[in-house]
């Protein structure tokens, strides 16, 4: 195959890894804050440069042959099963790699300002670089197993960074929650992979790289497992893994809690990159999903439900970061909706634009929190427009982009998704999507109003953030404003060079677009109206049930606690700990064997009393018995 050895790819990976090693091993002692931060950002920048170089080389290849690969070494070889540690750079991974390294670089620069003076400064950058390394491993992997390595690695880094301030038990347990919830999903992912490999190798197809998988995927169509078509089952299992990583219902509970980490981490991992891994995985394995229309339907409905559900919760959150977290869950729902409709490129498009505007919003929120010295409750903010003008302007850009104002990035991608969903999912799913768009506009507008507009509600004097933080935000702001317009045609030609573009627009597309834009504007208007203190109080009184239901996030956490965590804890404490561990293992096996040898020793010690006369007697008896036996 063309470009089977392309040496630049490994440097994309090695730069952040080197940054991790240097900052992790030498950081605190030898580098210090300034050099450590610079090194962290520089590592990502190098990675970005290599990704851009590879990208330009990729563009120079003929359209039908756009693929760069690099096999590093043979990773696993067992019988006929053999897996290479190989990298792959095709249009999809190129887009992802550029988004990941680009956004990461900006967030690294921002972090230098945000984390200034933190005692774990070097540790922070080490983790962040490690995260980028694993994320790029996931993105550039040439087979699902390497992808799984990255998949697990980003989960690990997410855990480390959510619990970054691990002295606070609440933050540490948020990290654990994220990790464990992700493990639940990972179990599904792993089962899906094993099933895929087992079924394929039974048919004699043992190569596991994506190109061969794509070629051999059709072998699966005739197979059935547990009365289900094999592709459907595999796709559902893999999708279950994606719901864990990408925080879709029912495994969305970890993402809002993940806001315990530093805000740049929320921007990078829990908005722009890691949580989109599920979407990327679907796009990467699209050939498999195309064989399983039923699984696609499940994905579309799950995405649709999650988008709506999370948007409703986001409407009433008080914590500025929680609003953005639920918003992320909701936007990821959009991406899955698109993927479920078979429009994988549209979901990747939304992934990219979302990475821009949501990272911007998170960084803006971080800037506000920084300026307010750690305050996250929006009801204690207000009127920050005057004190933080740059942050306000940039936040406003992110706000308008996510609200779907025509011409900005969120508008293009969301509109495209809604159009595709209308074609494939029907009026109901589309209607929910439009409603969610209105809700999205509502909660982001509410966030901006409560934070920046109207009267000041606290006496803390806020200060504008340093340039080191506002400049990366400005870059993201530009991308959020213009990214959609710049990418909309180019991205699709790049991702799907053979599909027809432009001409096949749905005739009702214009009308659909009008409706979703109207929904967005009505959401904005509603937010201005409903956040007035008088109307808000009146609504709360009028609808107390719904208010408390939404405020408690539909009690999903409580349901998990009573249905899963409590029984599990009961079994763990009563049966596993008290009966099996303390009783059986400690009592019977460990202490039991010790006791047995102690009593045996005590009994046998009598034979060795040290009394010479008794020894002599025993000896004589022994001799007599031997003589008797011989004679």
């Amino acid at each position: 195959m063309e470009g089977n050895y392309y040496p630049l790819l490994k440097w994309i990976l090695l730069a952040p890894l080197a940054g991790f090693v240097l900052n992790g091993l030498l950081g605190k002692k030898f580098l210090g804050d300034r050099a450590g931060g610079l090194l962290g950002a520089l590592a990502i920048f190098i990675s970005f440069v290599f990704a851009a170089l590879s990208f330009s080389d990729l563009l120079n290849l003929p359209v039908e042959n756009r693929l760069l690969r690099d096999t590093l070494y043979n990773w696993i070889s067992a019988g006929s099963f053999s897996v290479d540690a190989a990298l792959r750079f095709d249009p999809l991974s190129a887009v992802m790699a550029l988004v990941v390294t680009g956004v990461s670089f900006l967030i690294h620069v921002y972090s230098i300002g945000y984390m200034k003076g933190d005692s774990g400064f070097n540790r922070y950058f080490a983790y962040l670089n490690l995260f980028v390394f694993f994320m790029l491993t996931l993105v550039l992997a040439d087979n699902p197993l390497i992808m799984f390595v990255g998949w697990e690695g980003v989960g690990l880094c997410s855990f480390l960074l959510i619990g970054f301030w691990h002295e606070d038990p609440e933050k540490a347990s948020a990290g654990k929650k994220a990790f464990i919830t992700n493990r639940v999903g990972d179990a599904g992912f792993l089962l899906g992979l094993m099933l895929l490999f087992a079924l394929l190798s039974m048919q004699g197809a043992v190569e596991m790289d994506f190109a061969s998988l794509e070629k051999n995927a059709s072998l699966l169509t005739s197979a059935t497992v547990l009365g289900m078509a094999a592709p459907t089952l595999i796709c559902l299992l893999l999708f279950f893994g994606a719901t864990g990583k990408s925080a879709q219902f029912p495994l969305h509970v970890w993402l809002p809690d993940a806001m315990a980490g530093p805000t740049p981490v929320s921007a990078l991992i829990h908005a722009a990159t890691m949580v989109t891994a599920g979407v990327y995985m679907l796009a990467r394995l699209h050939f498999l999903y195309e064989l399983a229309p039923k699984a696609l339907e499940v994905i579309m409905l799950t995405g649709c439900f999650t988008a709506f559900f999370a948007a409703v919760i986001a409407m009433l959150q008080k914590d500025i970061k929680k609003v953005l977290a639920y918003s992320t869950v909701s936007q990821l729902g959009y991406m899955f909706m698109a993927a479920g409709a078979g429009a994988f490129s549209a979901s990747v498009f939304h992934l990219a634009t979302h990475a821009f505007f949501k990272a911007l919003l998170f960084l803006g929120a971080g800037s506000v929190i920084h300026g307010m010295s750690g305050e996250q409750d929006m009801f204690k903010m207000g009127g920050l427009k005057r004190e933080m003008p740059f942050t306000f302007l940039l936040m406003a850009a992110g706000w308008l982009a996510i609200a779907g104002v025509p011409g900005l990035s969120g508008f293009y991608s969301k509109d495209l998704i809604l159009e595709k969903v209308f074609e494939h999912g029907g009026i109901f799913v589309w209607g929910t999507g439009v409603l969610t768009a209105a809700l999205t506009a509502f909660y982001t507008t509410r966030l901006v109003i409560l934070t920046f507009l109207r009267d000041k509600r606290s006496r803390t004097h806020a200060h504008e953030s340093p340039l080191l933080m506002t400049l990366p935000m400005a870059a993201l702001g530009l991308l959020a404003l213009a990214g959609g317009f710049l990418l909309k045609e180019r991205l699709f030609i790049f991702l799907e060079p053979f599909a027809a573009h432009g001409a096949e627009h749905n005739p009702v597309a214009a009308r659909l677009m009008m409706i979703s834009v109207a929904a967005g504007f009505s959401g904005i208007a509603a937010a201005f109206l409903l956040t007035l203190p008088r109307t808000a109080a009146a609504l709360k009184v009028a609808l107390p049930r719904i208010h408390s239901l939404v405020c408690h996030k539909f009690y999903v956490d409580e349901i998990y606690i009573s249905l899963i965590i409590k029984p599990l804890r009961f079994v763990s404490v009563k049966i596993m700990y008290q009966l099996v561990d303390a009783g059986l293992i400690d009592g019977l096996l460990v202490n039991g064997s010790a006791n047995a040898s102690y009593t045996a020793g005590k009994a046998l010690a009598r034979a060795q009393g040290g009394r010479l006369d008794i020894y002599a007697l025993v000896f004589a008896i022994g001799v007599a018995l031997m003589l008797y036996w011989i004679i």
Binding site: A605, G610, R611, L612, D613
Partner: protein, 96 residues
Amino acid sequence: MSAYSLAGIAFVLFSLAAAGFLTCGSLVRMLMFLELMLNAANIALVALSPGTVSQAYALMLFAIAAAEAGVGLALIITLASVFKTLEAENIKELKG
């Protein structure tokens, strides 16, 4: 005197010595009974097997008995100075 009666004497002497060894409590007496047992063995050797080989063994046994008596007495003197007694049942340090 026939060889059989000599063997009988040896047997009786050995039995008496062994019985004495087992019953008496003093270490010195035990050592003396030990010597008697060796001597009984000597008589049995000479009585039951005529010829030079057994006589040579008997001579060797004298030497061994003498050496054994020397070592034994030395041990007994040390024990006596440490434990201030020669009764076997009082000399013990093990707990069992």
